[in-house]
């Protein structure tokens, strides 16, 4: 492979200058270098942002965790501060292999904006805010507005993702993540479901659900979330929600699975969630 021109800026402002000249950010490289290799992309300059100190912060604000975009999945999994966000750890553990987790970053996963991006499921559930930095300064966007579609984000030319703010969810929700894929490691999900569920006296008090790989973006099936409120925690009591959940999906057929299969899997994942919650004694 002919080497792509690449630079390693010494700080954020130098990085922004290179981006203004048309450079493309490079972090772990696990997405962008694969795309280049497959001939899907040929950036004129790669700007390595993976070690910029400004992108490597990890800060507990009391309300939540501010996570630098260039932190790797492995770093986040190992950091004691993420213990308060079990859902984040649950999704990150399923990404790729140990090497992919040691290389890939949260910012890279976010900007790739794949409907199968596992970290996105946690970001949607936690109602994360994305902090962008560009020539005009900083701005914040909710993750659902940052992601515009498959592989499309609100990132303007010349902008970087600086960090992601992950608010601590109130109370003590149960967290759940399950992904169905074809090969155990590496292969990207066919469908996944993540959830935060607040349970009181054997009934659902509140629920947040996020589905991966069954629509152009990660999706919060709000109708199902609302219909769950007050339900007993038992798969039998959720059966009628399966069609509602399937209806919320807009899956595609591709090499990995047909749309119909994805819809069915999503429904089954809902029942798996009901099973995983502590049932009323």
């Amino acid at each position: 492979m002919r080497p792509i021109p690449a630079v390693k800026p010494k700080d954020l402002s130098e990085a922004l200058q290179y981006l203004a000249e048309g450079g493309k950010p490079l972090a772990g490289g696990t997405d962008v270098l694969v795309a280049i290799r497959k001939g899907q992309e040929r950036p004129k300059l790669l700007v390595y942002v993976g070690e910029l100190p400004e992108l490597r912060i990890l800060r507990d604000t009391g309300e939540g965790l501010e996570v630098g975009a260039a932190l790797t999945h492995a770093e986040l999994l190992a950091h004691p501060a993420t213990e308060r966000l079990p859902i984040l750890r649950q999704v990150l553990r399923t990404i790729g292999s140990p090497a992919i987790r040691a290389m890939g970053t949260l910012g890279g996963n976010l900007v790739t904006a794949s409907p199968a991006g596992d970290s996105l499921v946690a970001l949607y559930l936690l109602e994360a805010r994305v902090r962008l930095v560009g020539p005009g300064g900083e701005r914040d966007l909710p993750v659902g507005e940052f992601i515009r579609g498959p592989r499309q984000t609100a990132l303007a030319p010349g902008e970087l993702v600086r960090s992601v703010f992950l608010p601590y969810p109130p109370g003590q929700p149960h967290s759940f993540f399950r992904k169905v894929g074809r090969r155990r490691a590496l292969v990207i999900a066919v469908a996944s479901l993540g959830a935060l569920v607040w349970v009181r006296d054997g009934r659902v008090e509140r629920a947040r659900l996020a589905l991966g790989s069954v629509a152009p973006t990660v999706l919060r099936p709000r109708a199902v979330e609302e219909a769950l409120v007050g339900r007993p925690v038992a798969p039998e009591a959720w059966e009628d929600l399966v069609p509602l959940l399937s209806a919320a999906t807009q899956p595609i057929s591709d090499l990995r699975a047909s749309a119909d299969y994805r819809r069915k899997v999503a429904g089954q994942l809902l029942l798996a969630l009901a099973q995983a919650l502590p049932s009323p004694a």
């Binding site: 492979m1 080497p3 021109p5 690449a6 390595y48 292999s97 140990p98 992919i100 040691a102 490691a185």
Partner: protein, 158 residues
């Protein structure tokens, strides 16, 4: 760029394009052909090396990624003349057949034992899930890693 890093315990300095793949840099510029290229896209693990104690795929790593870092390849495993206990164990369990995948498995396993000297069989399997082998059926590799872990514990206790 003038690239400086540590490779198998030695300081290395060379002129390379910053976008050169670590894999090519090792194999072509430095003649270290132990590291193998299987898929070139992150899927097979044949190119695994250890960077600052973490497993890394050298096919998806550029020169700039390793500037100032400590890189270990399979050539750096066997020290003081003899094979590393991991290498011995791979030989003993027939975890090596054609051998193409072996350097990648060795380096991934090395990174595992660095952080977890007492892995369970399930942990070994999970950790090596990014490495493919077309010959052995994996069982022998799993055994090799468990056996090596035991050997290394003895070495440390002695």
């Amino acid at each position: 760029m003038r690239l400086r890093f540590r490779l198998n315990g030695r300081d290395v300095e060379l002129d390379v394009p910053p976008g050169r793949r670590l894999l090519d840099l090792l194999r072509e510029d430095l003649g270290l052909i132990g590291t193998k290229e299987g898929c070139g896209e992150g899927e097979c693990g044949a190119c695994t090396v250890v960077v600052d104690g973490q497993p890394r795929l050298s096919c998806l790593t550029l020169a700039i990624h390793v500037e100032g870092k400590e890189v270990l390849t399979v050539e750096g495993l066997a020290q003081r003349g003899g094979l590393h206990p991991l290498q011995e164990a791979f030989v003993e369990t027939a975890g090596v057949q054609c051998g193409f995948c072996t350097p990648g498995f060795l380096m991934a396993a090395y990174a595992l034992l660095l952080r977890n000297p007492h892995p369970t069989p399930a942990e070994v399997r999970e950790w090596l899930s990014g490495n493919l082998c077309r010959c052995t059926g994996y069982k022998q590799i799993e055994e090799a890693v468990l056996r090596a872990a035991e050997k290394l514990r003895h070495v440390q206790e002695a």
